[in-house]
């Protein structure tokens, strides 16, 4: 059975159609949009919180989106063990809503960073990464102004010691360095998972490197991994 994806549309989401195209048209899975005012999530195995600028990024990125009716449902869905992926602005919504620890603050470069980066897969025993090899290096685009992952020392230690750092910014050889860090994230953290292992947040955009016509399909692994697990 193919996983059924539900892609949340907030006012200001702009990667919702990318996620839909990647899952539905390229990978051939079942996919539909979930409106931010919806009060139920039905017939959905995986919720995607897509990238964009929900509510104009007013106040803080993701701060208003966390209060929308659909997020109440997403939180309940996640607490029951439902699979959730937050990409870019979706990651910011997940930290704001408390489903993931820490916060995404302004890039230390002071710039909006829009480019391909390399990621090293730090944990491939997760439902989101089983298609990758341990320490495999993948090329994935980023596009954000506030992707600088921050958390207190205790939280960082907890994430590091429990395999909860899923992706780390690296160079093409998998070397982790300050030069390979596009935004100043602590320990080059690009993506993390919650304690239970069912909620993933990442700043890079795997849905933008799924279609072969774009010349890079490194992001397919995230979605294909879910297929294996749900079956």
């Amino acid at each position: 059975m193919s996983p059924r994806f539900g892609i949340v549309v907030f006012p200001g989401s702009n990667c919702d159609h990318d996620a839909y195209h990647a899952t539905k048209h390229i990978l051939g899975y079942d996919a539909k949009f979930l409106w931010h005012k919806d009060k139920t999530i039905e017939n959905t195995d995986v919720v995607i919180l897509p990238g964009g600028f929900s509510y104009g990024d007013y106040l803080r990125s993701g701060a208003i989106a966390k209060l929308s009716p659909i997020m109440e449902q997403v939180i309940e869905f996640a607490e029951k063990g439902g699979t959730v992926i937050g990409i870019c602005n979706g990651f910011q919504v997940l930290t704001e809503s408390g489903l993931l620890p820490g916060a995404l603050i302004k890039n230390n470069s002071l710039r909006f960073e829009c480019k391909d980066v390399f990621l090293r897969v730090e944990n491939n025993s997760l439902p989101f990464t089983s298609e990758y090899q341990h320490h495999q290096v993948i090329k994935v685009p980023i596009a954000h102004g506030e992707g600088n992952y921050y958390a207190d020392e205790e939280t960082i230690t907890e994430l590091e010691n429990n395999g909860r750092v899923v992706f780390r910014y690296s160079d093409s050889a998998g070397v982790i360095s300050q030069e390979a860090n596009p935004n100043g994230s602590i320990n080059n953290i690009a993506g993390i998972i919650n304690k239970r292992g069912n909620v993933l947040g990442l700043m890079p955009h795997p849905e933008r490197c799924v279609d072969p016509v774009l010349g890079n399909t490194d992001g397919q692994g995230v979605f294909k991994s879910l297929l294996t697990v749900l079956n």
């Binding site: 106040l59 803080r60 701060a63 209060l67 930290t95 704001e96 620890p101 820490g102 916060a103 603050i105 302004k106 890039n107 230390n108 002071l110 600088n148 921050y150 958390a151 207190d152 100043g184």
Partner: protein, 83 residues
């Protein structure tokens, strides 16, 4: 009725790129003594109640749950009775 002012300050230990940018601008203006610039937020609103305790409670709840992110920011709430 109460007028509420909430100051939301990014923790001093956390990088403030906007402050850094303003500091660079100050240097461009020749103001080389200007250091430690921080760009914080001031949010004002009114609460339609005559009960100060209620006003304070609601203002603090709003600041804690929405206006500030407790992981990276602190806040200060001040109230002023208006007629």
């Amino acid at each position: 009725m109460y007028k509420v002012t909430v100051l939301v300050n990014r923790r001093r230990s956390i990088l403030d790129p906007q402050g850094k940018a303003v500091e660079l601008g100050a240097k461009q203006l020749g103001l080389t003594d200007v250091i430690n610039v921080r760009v914080d937020k001031k949010i004002t609103f009114q609460i339609n109640t005559e009960d100060e305790a209620v006003a304070r409670k609601e203002a603090e709840q709003l600041a804690d749950k929405l206006l500030a992110n407790p992981i990276t920011e602190d806040f200060e709430v001040s109230l002023e009775k208006i007629v």
